[in-house]
């Protein structure tokens, strides 16, 4: 068990994460009903407010607070109790992040920031929305530096040793996050805030979008890497095996630092302000991300097979039956991984220039989002929640909670399969995203899209409703394990932090040489971005005034 004071930091983060989850999933439910014409919103609330709240609260707030809860717990467990300074800065980071969150959420709910989670200019929100976003990022930086300080203290005490894998992966994720945020901080501070408060009249839209996506793509990996940490470190423990290869795990993580950042242009393939060469270069770098992704896939299968064979499995796939299916902590993460196979494949499609023409700005992208962050990441976090909260509160994860956990993950799976399959197919047919209306003024061709059983608004609404039901079951589990479940008193009732052993005896030391990896990362970023960004500034297109379309 980690120190009580460290537990409090983690629990505060989890509390905010699930408060955001509750409001964010409710916003998701409202959306599917509005699209189905089954709900009329009051005059003060519109579809785009709800869409913005859904995206910001789930994709940004829920994930970030949950990730810091996981990091705090794991760092305290793997490299020791926090010192007073680390604890102080973790709290300062938490409160600043929360203050920014509340500020941005109030602006969204009061209808002054219906700019969606990408907040693309020239849509213009209240300046306070951007201030809230900036505070949110600054808060995460403070929390990040607190964890880096804790890690550096450990390294000073353990000179010449590689850090435990959990700490290494946490710092890798944080390093990537810090580098990635430079883009969004630059655009929010120097472009959006002066523009939104009226200090400048116009904004360079192309530059703002490019700086956003410099941040936006590694943001995806900021969600994904903590899920990968669970896959690399928690799953083997549940399977009763060691980490498959410490070196491979570390190498795959540093490759994510290198190849998750200089790739933002693959989100901007249809934009005219970037020349083909830079798009091509960044698409090539994007495809490099497949390497660590497949290394991860290989490791997962290897863990499963080794575990099954240890239990006596025979034949090519005999090990599959031997997996611990009755353990909801495992099954949840297994389903999350399974969703990531089509999710990852969809990502390769999105990043391929010609194929991007087929899916760009369609509901396919929404479906893709839901089978990447919405399930592989979110369901891994759910699988972690089942033990993380009782571990932190010292309560039991009772048999009835375990059964409810299964109901929760199965309903999430069914709901997501219905909704995301529908969104993928509709997107391929041409149905647009980011809009409440997809019928093009009742054009017959557009209406036909929604005639199929799998592609009707009803299917999407049924899927969305099942997802909301699942979310509420999860909220019940969260509240029970946080406040109401019986306290663990006997040793066997205590919930463990399932952290697999990792044999680092043969791991090359250069894998933890940050100067190498951060140096290469900045070199790649410079190569991929310096000239096109310079071009956007020197040969800036005419600036745009702000538009408030809602």
């Amino acid at each position: 068990m980690i120190a009580v004071k460290d537990r409090k930091i983690a629990l505060a983060n989890i509390g905010v994460a699930y408060a955001a989850f509750l409001i964010g999933t409710l916003a998701g439910l409202l959306q599917v009903f509005i699209r189905n014409d089954a709900l009329q919103l009051p005059a003060w609330l519109d579809y785009y407010q709800i869409l913005t709240a859904h995206g910001v609260l789930l994709a940004l707030i829920f994930t970030t607070f949950f990730i810091f809860a996981f990091f705090t717990t794991g760092m305290s467990k793997s490299i020791g109790t926090f010192g007073p300074k680390v604890r102080l800065y973790s709290w300062v980071g938490f409160w600043v992040t929360l203050f920014g969150t509340v500020m941005a959420t109030v602006m969204i709910v009061s209808g002054k920031a219906s700019v969606l989670y990408t907040f693309y200019a020239p849509l213009k929100a209240s300046g306070w929305f951007y201030v809230g976003l900036a505070l949110f990022i600054i808060g995460t930086w403070i929390s990040s530096f607190a964890l880096i300080g804790h890690y550096m203290a450990w390294r000073r005490k353990n000179k010449g040793h590689l850090s435990p894998l959990f700490a290494f992966m946490t710092i890798t994720t944080i390093v990537m996050w810090l580098i990635a945020c430079l883009g969004v901080v630059a655009t929010v501070l120097f472009q959006y805030i002066p523009w939104a408060f009226g200090w400048t009249d116009t904004i360079n839209v192309e530059l703002s979008r490019s700086l956003f996506w410099y941040f936006g793509h590694p943001l995806v990996y900021f969600w994904l890497l903590p899920a990968y940490m669970a896959w690399y470190l928690i799953v083997p423990k549940l399977l009763g095996v060691k980490v498959f290869s410490d070196s491979l795990a570390r190498l795959s993580f540093v490759l994510f630092i290198l190849f998750s950042i200089p790739v933002g242009f693959h989100h901007q393939l249809t934009e005219p302000g970037i020349s083909n060469f830079w798009k091509f270069l960044q698409v090539v770098l994007t495809f490099m991300v497949i390497v660590p992704s497949l290394m991860t896939a290989f490791t997962m299968f290897a863990n499963f097979e080794i575990s099954g064979r240890k239990k006596g499995a025979v034949g090519l796939f005999g090990w599959f039956r031997m997996l611990p299916w009755k353990d909801v902590r495992f099954t949840s993460i297994f389903i999350a991984m399974a969703f990531f196979i089509p999710g990852g494949a969809g990502g390769i499609i999105n990043a391929s220039f010609q194929l991007n023409e087929v899916v760009h700005n369609t509901l396919w992208i929404v479906g893709h989002f839901h089978i990447t962050v919405g399930t592989p990441v979110a369901m891994t976090f759910m699988g972690l929640t089942f033990w993380l909260i009782p571990y932190l509160t010292g309560r039991q994860f009772t048999k009835s909670m375990q059964r409810l956990g299964f109901v929760q993950i199965i309903t999430w799976t069914i709901g997501m399969l219905l909704m995301s399959t529908s969104q993928h197919i509709l997107g391929l047919l041409g149905a647009p995203r980011r809009t409440a209306y997809a019928g093009y003024n009742n054009h017959p061709s557009a209406l036909e899209w929604f005639d199929g059983i799998l592609t009707s608004h009803v299917t999407m609404a049924v899927g969305g409703s099942i997802l909301f039901l699942s979310a509420m079951i999860l909220m019940y589990i969260v509240i029970m394990t946080m406040f109401l479940s019986p306290k663990a008193e006997r040793p066997e009732d205590f919930v463990e932090f399932p952290l697999a052993e990792s044999d680092k005896e043969h791991t090359p030391k250069f894998l933890e040489n940050w100067a190498i990896w951060v140096g290469i990362a900045f070199a790649l970023i410079f190569i991929a971005y310096a000239i096109p960004i310079g071009d956007m500034i020197q040969n800036a297109p005419p600036g745009s005034k702000g538009f408030i379309t809602w």
Binding site: F244, S245, L294, E305, R309, I348, Q354
Partner: protein, 41 residues
């Protein structure tokens, strides 16, 4: 680091190999389907 060190010597990972190929096939099939749609349009 000993060059001969192999912590996975003797481990049967044939199922893993086939599974990874399976993932590869899904990627290729999905990619080709959407590419064909692009060509057809």
């Amino acid at each position: 680091m000993s060059k001969k060190y192999d912590e996975h010597q003797g481990v049967n990972l044939k199922g893993t190999l086939v599974s990874v190929f399976f993932v590869g096939v899904i990627i290729v099939v999905m990619w080709v389907v959407v590419y064909m749609m692009y060509v057809a349009r």
